[in-house]
């Protein structure tokens, strides 16, 4: 990731985080405000529900009082109190309940046995737990032939003699009850009756009747029943998020603390969601604009900062490639970037100066070395020439009769030495005029085998024979190369190896196919080289041999590099030396000409 991208990312993140934080905080505050309003509204409704609950309870109680004072009930009470048969009043509760507008009514004997039941007439004779008279009104789940219902109940005892008749009347907690709560517009009030067989959709009723998607309330209802306290959650009756309700579930318990019903008060979240959507839209707009601004700012800033840096990087790459004459212009850069550019330019100019000095030094050193080698090379044939000439002079003076014979002999010697001098000079000339490789498709393995076969006789006919081993890869590709130059280079290496093994040994030539090159290893088991010798081995005129020109390996390196390849050496003194040649599979663009 470059600086421009980093700056862009940083600016964008800054803008996004800032806008998101503001949007979140505003949204949170809004939600809190709405939640508080919902809470207040729900609390009001719950209080209203409890008031309605008490009012209804009182009303039921009053109706039971009126019923207790009626002639019919007095007759029943008197009859039952004086040994009358309860069976005569089987339908009494139904008639009375209808007359006094009650959903539930049971007449209970002193022992709690049902004399008459309006809601389930067939339950005559069954026993009910005697109601607690200290409670004014209470909730109760009433068993019915077709399931059960939850009702608000009140009790009115009537004494007759020693017996007591209990009037247990109630009203069903149903849609009508919910409608009586007169909830504000938009508030959804739902009542769930706890059934016998888990959550059943038909047990959920709202003020308008059945609830469309009652199962949406199921988790909240279960939570309220489990915790036995008010719980709140968001309920989404439809797929539209705006139809969701902030719903509070209030468990309603009977006298024994069993949850018999759950009241759900749902406050619409449409206003809140609309506002949140608006805030989100504004935040997104501001964020988007911020990001665009960040892009522009980052482009401007990076234009000022990164352009010189990019130029510096490019110049550095050129320097690395060997072009030390490159310089960068600081343009409009200032401060550290300008200083950096100036430092870079200073550095390259110093590098160029140092390189020039080094080249000069090396050139001098090379000339010195050349002079030394030339002196050394030329000195050897010159000495016999001098001796021969001196012998000729002395023979003419001392042995004039034998002069001709000596002259002929000396002439031969002189010619031989002169020839020697010519050879030396030719070598130097050859080195200076190394030809460019003429590339053609070459099978390296065949080339290696040819080199090995040429030297085979020489290797065996030595005093201490040298064994030639070839490990040639079968999958070696054909590469573009000059076979003659390569042959010469490899022969040089084989001859070098022979020189390194006066006591015999082995030469191993390995070939490998590598990803982009073909490798040729030429290893000997000779005396080996020191690290310093390895470093200078390819320097022209450097030799470790007593009678070498120091041009052999220089020529080898020249041939290999002219092929676009590389040559290296690994050696361990006393163990042997390995020359490693890598030749490219393809002709490099800047490589040798075909």
């Amino acid at each position: 990731m470059n600086l421009r991208q980093r700056l862009l990312l940083m600016f964008s993140l800054t803008v996004i985080i800032a806008v998101a934080a503001v949007a979140y905080i505003v949204s949170l505050r809004t939600r809190d405000a709405f939640a508080q309003a919902d809470q207040d509204r729900t609390a009001g409704l719950v209080a209203q529900f409890h008031r309605e609950f008490d009012r209804r309870g009182l009303e039921i109680k009053m109706r039971l009082d009126r019923m207790a004072a009626s002639e019919e009930v007095n007759r029943v009470t008197f009859d039952l109190g004086h040994g009358g048969e309860a069976s005569a009043y089987l339908n009494e509760a139904g008639t009375l309940a209808q007359q006094y507008g009650l959903d539930f009514l049971e007449l209970l004997n002193s022992d709690g046995s049902i004399v008459s039941s309006a809601q389930w007439p067939a339950r005559f004779g069954y026993k009910e737990s005697l109601p607690d008279l200290s409670v004014s009104a209470y909730l109760k789940k009433e068993e019915l032939p077709q399931g059960s219902a939850v009702g608000l109940f009140a009790v009115r005892p009537i004494k007759s003699g020693d017996a007591t008749l209990y009037l247990v009347g109630g009203e069903r907690l149903d849609r009508e009850f919910l409608q009586s709560l007169s909830a504000p517009e938009g508030i959804q009030i739902v009542l769930y009756r706890v059934g016998e067989s888990g959550f059943q959709p038909e047990d959920v009723v709202s003020m308008s009747g059945m609830v469309d998607t009652p199962e949406k309330y199921a988790p909240l209802i279960k939570l309220a029943m489990t915790r036995r306290t008010e719980v709140s959650a968001i309920v989404s009756p439809t797929n539209d998020r705006k139809d969701s309700l902030q719903t509070t579930a209030i468990p309603l318990m009977d006298r024994s603390g069993v949850v018999v019903s759950v009241l759900l008060v749902g406050s619409p979240r449409r206003g809140l969601i609309t506002l949140q959507d608006h805030i989100r839209a504004v935040a997104l707009t501001v964020g988007g604009l911020g990001i665009l601004l960040a892009i522009a700012a980052s482009l401007w800033i990076t234009g000022r900062i990164t352009r010189p840096i990019v130029e510096l990087a490019s110049a550095s790459r050129q320097v690395a490639a060997g072009d030390w004459n490159v310089t960068v212009s600081p343009h409009h850069a200032s401060g550290e970037i300008a200083e950096l550019a100036e430092a870079f330019n200073r550095m390259t100019s110093q590098l160029v100066e140092q390189r020039d000095r080094l080249v000069q030094t090396e050139r001098v050193a090379a000339w010195r070395e050349l002079a030394r080698r030339l002196a050394h090379e030329l000195k050897n044939p010159l000495f016999p020439l001098q001796l021969t000439v001196e012998n000729l002079v002395k023979a003419r003076q001392v042995l004039p009769g034998e002069f001709d014979e000596i002259f002929d002999e000396s002439t031969k010697t002189l010619m031989a030495e002169i020839q020697n001098l010519k050879t030396i000079i030719q070598r130097f000339s050859d080195f200076s005029k190394m030809p460019q490789p003429q590339l053609q498709a070459v099978k390296i393995n065949e080339l290696v085998e040819r080199v090995a076969s040429i030297h085979e006789a020489a290797l065996k006919n030595r005093e201490h024979p040298v064994e030639m081993r070839l490990n040639l890869a079968s999958d070696l590709p054909v590469i573009p190369a000059d076979p003659e130059l390569l042959h010469r280079a490899l022969s040089n290496l084989v001859l070098n190896a022979l020189d390194a093994m006066p006591q015999g040994g082995s030469i191993t030539i390995n070939t490998f196919a590598r990803q982009e090159t073909v490798r040729i290893d030429v290893a000997d088991t000779g005396t080996g080289l020191t690290k310093e010798e390895c470093e200078r081995l390819f320097t022209p005129y450097y030799t470790t041999k007593q009678h070498g020109t120091g041009l052999g390996l220089a020529i080898v390196q020249s041939v290999i590099t002219d092929h676009g390849g590389s040559i290296g050496v690994e050696s361990t003194p006393g163990v042997g030396t390995t020359f490693i040649i890598d030749l490219p599979r393809q002709v490099a663009a800047t490589g040798a000409n075909a």
Binding site: S87, P121, Y126, P145, Q146
Partner: protein, 448 residues
Amino acid sequence: MRRTAFLLLAASSVFLFSSFANARTRPRQGGTLRVETQADASRWMTSPVRMLVFDSLTQLDDTGKVLPRLAIRWDSQSDDRRWQFWLRPGVRFHDGTPLSAATIVQSLTAQPCSACPWGSVHVAGEAVVFESESPMPELPALLANSRYAITRRDESGNIVGTGPFRYATNSNGAITLAAVDDSWRARPFVNAIELRGSRSLRDQWMDVSVGRADVVEVPAEWLRRAQQEHMRLLTSRDTDLIAIVIDEKDPAVQDSRLREALALSLDRAALFNVVFQKQGETTASLLPNWLTGYSFAFPAAPNLARAKELRSQVERPQEMTLSVDGNDPVLQLMADRVVLNARDAGIVVRPLTAPGHSTLHLTRIHVEETNVAAAFVDATEQLGAITTPPADDLSAVFHQEQDLLAKHTIVPLLYTPRAIAYSPRAHDLKLSSDGAVREADFWLEDAK
């Protein structure tokens, strides 16, 4: 002398008093008997007075003895597989058509009769012949049933019979049955019977109390109240059986232990004491005790412990459903009680609110027959039980009933009587043992 004169005076006084008394209770001719029912008047053929319009081939007396009616004698052949009935001569239908073997065959074959005990019925000279592949020892008794009353359609399409009253008019929700002057059973005292339908029980009782009706219905469950209100009542024998029919093919009750558990959980006494106010009798038998005398051999008391034990032997039984006949509120109340009783034994029964197939069906059947074997055949036919007709022998009927009830596919609960209340102006009204008015010798006090 004085003693003789005193005796003569006393004897003449007794004669005069008895003459006066006879004059006051002597039947009077004329008038209209006003009958009210809850059902629509057009359904008069199910009313208690239907057998005043129609006759059957035979009739049963209170002891179950078969007496002649339209048939004057009968004979069986081939081990009761073939019966021949000779007809009463001179009998005519209300439209003047003479009663003949052909009209009887036509009447008995007018409607498809899958439950009829005979296989075929045809004319043989002046006689009617019934044939069946299996013996029909109780056929003469069964033919007394009102289901087999002889009827035909006149040219106007009205149904006519041979009884002392004939269908006359239908107007303003009331049916009028007019007396037949030349009835073979002699002319009735009253001129007509007016049958008003769609009257609630409360209205009927009000009408009879204020003299607007002469005969009103009294259901068994209201009998005690009627008695407490000192109404004039005519009550039949216990002829209506309330029973639960269990569909043994239903997977919920295929295990007989569940059926038995259900039967043992039922508290018949509570139904008898509370719902029916101790009218009728609890029963675990198909036939009423007054008819067989062996009802006690079928224990009717609940055994909740055993019911629970049987129920616990069945793993995860399915829910049963329970339906009742029509919209009978009493049966509905009983059904609710059955649900409660079953629940006490751990059996879940759900009452059906809409018509449909149910595991259990609470039904009320009317058994007219006073002949044990015929009553058994009639009852089992109505309850849909497949049995072979028993020999006309109490012991055979008992064993057959025992075998049938041991399967727990029919659970008898109660036998109840039929009753009517009548006004003070109606005299000599008689209710036959099956709860119908069969004799037309009643009269009205204020008839002119």
